[in-house]
């Protein structure tokens, strides 16, 4: 996904070392990690050599998964990427390792159940917003549009036509990933 690659390059350009950092957890490792120092791990997004597959989800939900969703999550092993938009802060969810993908899938299945029950179309969350709210951003599985959503409710509104345009209008930030 070219827009994601550009976003990552711009993020890394904000740092002196070309690396991002987050607290080190010995039992939660990532192919993106390069070295550790003083309780921090230093990492930079690295391409997935064997990209994750949404085939299982597709079978489970009996749905074709939008190409943008697959491309977004199957590009890099990476920690959360931070940004600002004209409407506020954005934390882009990324995959740290294969187990992280398994978790994501489990959470997406839970999300799909909520959507089915309320007869709403399936969406896939990919970013968190303002830490004091539960509002998140998702990709609409049928159209690829970017939606603002609250758990268990119909989408609040469409914020962009597609993920590529959305990523290109974000301003990357070098800040630690945060609590909500």
């Amino acid at each position: 996904m070219q827009a994601l690659t550009e976003f990552i390059d711009a993020t890394l350009n904000l740092t002196e070392s070309g690396l991002l950092s987050s607290p080190f957890h010995a039992d939660w490792r990532s192919p993106s990690e390069l070295h550790q120092d003083s309780g921090l791990t230093y990492w930079k997004p690295i391409r997935q050599q064997a990209p994750v597959s949404f085939e299982g989800v597709s079978h489970a939900l009996e749905l074709e998964i939008h190409a943008d969703i697959k491309a977004y999550y199957a590009s890099y092993w990476s920690g959360t990427l931070e940004a600002d938009s004209s409407e506020g802060r954005v934390s882009l969810i990324q995959l740290w390792n294969v187990e992280d993908f398994d978790r994501l899938i489990a959470n997406l299945i839970g999300h799909a159940m909520v959507k089915q029950k309320s007869r709403q179309g399936f969406t896939v969350f990919f970013a968190n917003t303002d830490p004091d709210t539960e509002i998140f951003l998702s990709i609409d599985n049928s159209s690829g549009a970017i939606l603002l959503e609250e758990p268990g409710k119909p989408p609040l509104r469409q914020v962009e036509t597609d993920i590529h345009t959305f990523l290109r209008r974000l301003k990357p930030k070098n800040r630690p990933a945060d609590i909500y």
Binding site: W28, I93, E99, G110, D132, F136
Partner: protein, 436 residues
């Protein structure tokens, strides 16, 4: 007020209203409800809570407090309830797994409180909460001596917490992200054995919310002080005392629509659940409408607003950005220009509120100029009939209901977006309206 909804309820037309008069009681917010529930459960004595909000967040909190052995009796509609306080920290419960759904206002303070109680706890949420980091709060608890590990993804629920190891002390947390984990620590640490000092890194955001927290601690008999929101000092070994009864204040931002409507139409409104001791920043909205010409009477448990001729004002409303939207709608009815400054915050909410407000006011006939962080509104001589796009934003919908106090009908698109904070707003508004 006559109102017409089309079949799929995606539009609501408000017929012209002559006046708003009457009395209204506003529901408490989910965060204030949850704070009151938790403090009552920790206090000694029984606390009678009034005006609780029933929501997913408060249901999760009540469940968790009952799991911790708290006796809670609630009326069917939850508008009142009695909490039998535990006189301090809870005993280790039999069931130590806590599931808090998507309740952000429950998981943060409960995690902080559980860190003080001996036991091994699992704290988890639903699929949405599991994607949201809780690491900053956990880092603060780790610095205070807690033992925490992440069961799955580092930084996110579910977490495994060994409680009983936090005794107070010094800790730094970032203030520029949120006020909610500081609030969690402020509620838990008075019960720690020793004193605590919390150093804030960066500029603290959401100071009005912190004032609300400190105000509640005080009402429950606990002290905590701060130096310019950069250092918080919390004496340890304190005890929460039941204030007997506790009114969960109605949301002052929501009250602003009724106050504003009464001020415009020379009406009179009494809002119960909001009084001169309010701990909410948006209560200062009343100072602004007094400047505009309205009459305000502030009592202990209620506030009256009586309308009079309004005139435009030039004000910095950075401290009350939500209620500032009501001022913008009131500007339609004021003599002369109204300028609202320092409201960059309008652009970073659920929708671009600056755009939404400017568009709606213009459709109603006002001449509007905006900058990056201000809006200037020249009222029309006569308000025009218009359809307002709310962009799914509850405050845009509620603000523009005030435009119906002109001589023209106003149509609100997607009126049900008020479900976020005030699902029956238009019904309450209707009950107070007299049509032209």
């Amino acid at each position: 007020m006559n109102r017409n909804r089309n079949q799929n309820q995606d539009q609501l037309t408000l017929a012209p209203i002559r006046q708003i008069t009457g009395e209204v009681t506003l529901p408490g917010s989910k965060s204030l409800s949850n704070r009151a529930l938790l403090l009552s459960a920790l206090a000694n004595g029984r606390t009678h809570l009034k005006n609780l909000l029933r929501s997913d967040d408060t249901e999760r909190m009540v469940e968790a407090l009952r799991q911790l052995g708290t006796g809670i009796e609630l009326s069917e509609d939850w508008k009142s309830g009695d909490v039998l306080g535990n006189s301090g920290l809870f005993n280790t419960p039999d069931v130590t797994d806590f599931f808090l759904g998507n309740a952000g206002t429950a998981i943060r303070p409960l995690t902080a409180v559980l860190s003080l109680i001996p036991g091994d706890f699992t704290i988890d949420g639903d699929q949405y909460m599991r994607e949201r980091p809780i690491e900053h709060l956990i880092d603060a608890l780790l610095a205070l001596g807690a033992q925490v590990s992440y069961r799955e993804k580092a930084g996110c629920p579910p977490i495994q917490l060994r409680g009983g190891l936090v005794n107070g002390g010094n800790v730094s947390i970032r203030g520029d992200i949120s006020s909610q984990y500081l609030t969690a620590l402020l509620m838990a640490l008075p019960l720690a054995a020793n004193d605590s000092n919390i150093m804030i890194q960066g500029e603290q955001v959401s100071k009005p919310y912190l004032d609300i927290t400190l105000g509640m601690l005080k009402k429950f008999g606990v002290t905590a002080s701060h130096e310019n929101y950069q250092t918080f000092n919390i004496p340890g070994n304190q005890a929460y005392r039941s204030p007997g009864g506790f009114l969960i204040e109605g949301d002052a931002s929501s009250a602003s629509y009724f106050f504003g409507a009464a001020a415009i139409g020379q009406g009179a409104v009494r809002v119960h659940g909001l009084g001169k001791h309010s701990v909410q920043g948006d209560y200062q909205f009343l100072d602004i409408i007094e400047l505009m010409g309205a009459k305000v009477d502030r009592a202990d448990d209620w506030t009256d607003v009586t309308g009079d001729e309004l005139h435009g004002v030039d004000v910095d409303l950075n401290h009350i950005p939500d209620a500032a939207m009501t001022i913008a709608a009131m500007a339609l009815f004021a003599k002369g220009q109204t300028v609202i400054r320092n409201i960059y915050n309008w652009r970073v909410k659920e929708t671009d509120r600056m755009h939404a407000m400017a568009e709606g006011l213009t459709r109603l006939g006002a001449i509007v100029q905006t900058t990056e962080d201000s809006i200037a509104i020249d009222p029309p001589s006569e308000i025009q009939a218009a359809t307002i796009d709310t962009y799914g934003d509850h405050r845009v919908a509620m603000s523009f209901s005030l435009a119906a106090l002109g001589n023209a009908p106003v149509t609100i698109n997607d009126p049900d977006c008020t479900r976020k904070t005030f699902p029956d707003y238009f019904d309450v508004f209707q009950s107070l309206s007299t049509n032209r």
